[in-house]
Symmetry: C2
Subunit: 414 residues, 2 copies
Amino acid sequence: MNAEIVAIGSELLTAFKQDTNSLFLTAKLNELGVNVDFKTVVGDRRTDLVSAIRIALSRADIVVLMGGLGPTEDDLTREATADALGLELKRDPEISAWLYARFASRRIKMAENNLKQADVIAGAEVLKNPRGSAPGQFLQTEFQGKLKIVILLPGPPREIHPMFEEQCMERLRKILPERHIATRVLKIALIPESEADRRAAPIYTKWPDIETTILAHRGEIHLHLRAQAHTLAKAQEKVDALTSQLEDEFDDTVFSTRGETLEQIVGYYLQMRNANLSVAESCTGGMISQRITSVPGSSRYFVGGAVVYDNSLKSGLADVSPILIQQHGAVSREVATALAEGIRKRCNTSLGIGVTGIAGPGGGTEEKPVGLVFHAVADGNSTDVIERRFPGDRDLIRQWATAQALDMVRRKLR
Amino acid sequence: MNAEIVAIGSELLTAFKQDTNSLFLTAKLNELGVNVDFKTVVGDRRTDLVSAIRIALSRADIVVLMGGLGPTEDDLTREATADALGLELKRDPEISAWLYARFASRRIKMAENNLKQADVIAGAEVLKNPRGSAPGQFLQTEFQGKLKIVILLPGPPREIHPMFEEQCMERLRKILPERHIATRVLKIALIPESEADRRAAPIYTKWPDIETTILAHRGEIHLHLRAQAHTLAKAQEKVDALTSQLEDEFDDTVFSTRGETLEQIVGYYLQMRNANLSVAESCTGGMISQRITSVPGSSRYFVGGAVVYDNSLKSGLADVSPILIQQHGAVSREVATALAEGIRKRCNTSLGIGVTGIAGPGGGTEEKPVGLVFHAVADGNSTDVIERRFPGDRDLIRQWATAQALDMVRRKLR
């Protein structure tokens, strides 16, 4: 069984906007053992649309169409699908009534064109849309002598996600052969992608029936594993076995095998140890604090800290001696250490982070080039310092430095 | 003239990875007056690939293929394109020699399979790739009696961007009819998308020959305008006229008409006024500082500040009286004001920002619900305070609060 996802809408063919729903839909279809073999983006022109739907029907068992279900003239997915399949559209009185009621409840007179949202392809089931005015449709039909599943969904993510989860998954499960699929995500901190692949490939290639995808993301490597088997237990056993071999290889650089983010893991450890944290960051400019506080409930273990961009604040808010800065320079092992220790004391926390570096593009020298960053974590007994020279642009350097600092806290607490 | 972009690679059909090059390519093709009418993503299976390329050739004048040019067995774009066009592949001795030299310079023995990267479709020009081993190809040919342009590009963004800019744009300009296209981006702060559209639509719909795209992005609305004309001056005149009508409508909520970000605009104003800035942020947790410092050179006007997540730091780092916090609560007009004034004094800056609110999902009460945020900007003479109740999730609330704080600084300095 394979699928094609067709995203419909001229705005998706501009330089500014991109289909993102297809990632969610792919994850859901994969869960059912269905591979997505093609994705197409097509605009609102009717002839283009009909031909794109025909092509999809000719090469995929399941065709998922997103967008173009609204009330405007540009919304032609219903008409084009009926056309492509040679089926009729019928106005559904129940949806019409629902549309009238929906507008009445908001005390708005409904414009006539809204009624086209009540047009249903002959034989299709209606998928209710409590979050918008355009219902979806689910259809099993024949095309060129083969059985096809055609699903029409609205475009907005907040409408498409619950509609697919709640109304399509169960319908598809009943139709599709039973599959059992297990997945795992292994996350690794601060190893370059090429090195991760060089070390992981000899292991995962020995498991050809586990699908492995390696992704690099702001200082982290994510290894996505996916296996099928006759039972869920068997599938789980397979991915777990590969996970454990990869964990042996990557050892303590693995920070998560169940999908948690690095900042979540740091949060878990801090709570487990009844510890709390403060941050004094210079070149990362707030990024470390921002990532930590992106986790709901982070106030339980994060008190805050200082963004010490200017040297006066390194002294004023984190008690780094101006003489130390003069002696070693703001970007130095000594100042990173003093930032971590100073902010820890000032904020009265178990742990303190200090980061100072050169994010670029300006400000680098031969001795202290762009990308040079010092990271320190103090716990009152000792202070760990790591010096790194990161490649890439300003944003990437800041991302890596942030990951490095968070990872040092994880290691300190492990 | 229309185009289809075909992204090739099975990893682009997983739930984790997405083609992003097509946005860049679309911008470049639009610059030449070419519309992208279709986008297709296809995997590494040869039959799928040949059929997807045939479909693209049958419906587009320009077909841009990305990916699948490497040395592995999965890299089949060259073979599939030659197949689809009924043309021969010929091994190019010059590329072969270049590949040998490339490996030799790294003291690595080249594996035989690398040589397939030297296979060139009959009649194609070679596009050099100084950043990788796979050269691109540029071909003018006939398909079903019509003239087509076929471009083969590598997949990695760092290879594709310069190759297209430096080697394809000029070639395309010579072939395509001369077009003159002018663009503008109008950026508006802190107006909901529906309101922006309601106010903008009556204006831009009167200019049917200007293509207008409205996008909402973390508390901002971006209006992209694009016009064609016989001369560049005429095209520019058109977008400028519409820009000025939209500026009249949106007045001082417009913060940029030339593409600058809100944090860049704030930076310009601060430098223009010879002013500098500090921040004390609670619910935004570092996001304001992080956005300001994402701009290269921001150290000229940003000194830093404090992330005052815990109440003790509101007093300890920004000198807010604990009694004030007790009286009004940490999330209050009074505490926001005291944060802005306190951090301004403490950091000795012209301006100080103070933000306190409830980002959720927990922590809300009936009186102070999730999404309630107080923003203050102090300049020593007066302190502006804005209370907002933002919709959306934790991340969205933090994004909006950040935009609101930055916009207040912009207004204060204007």
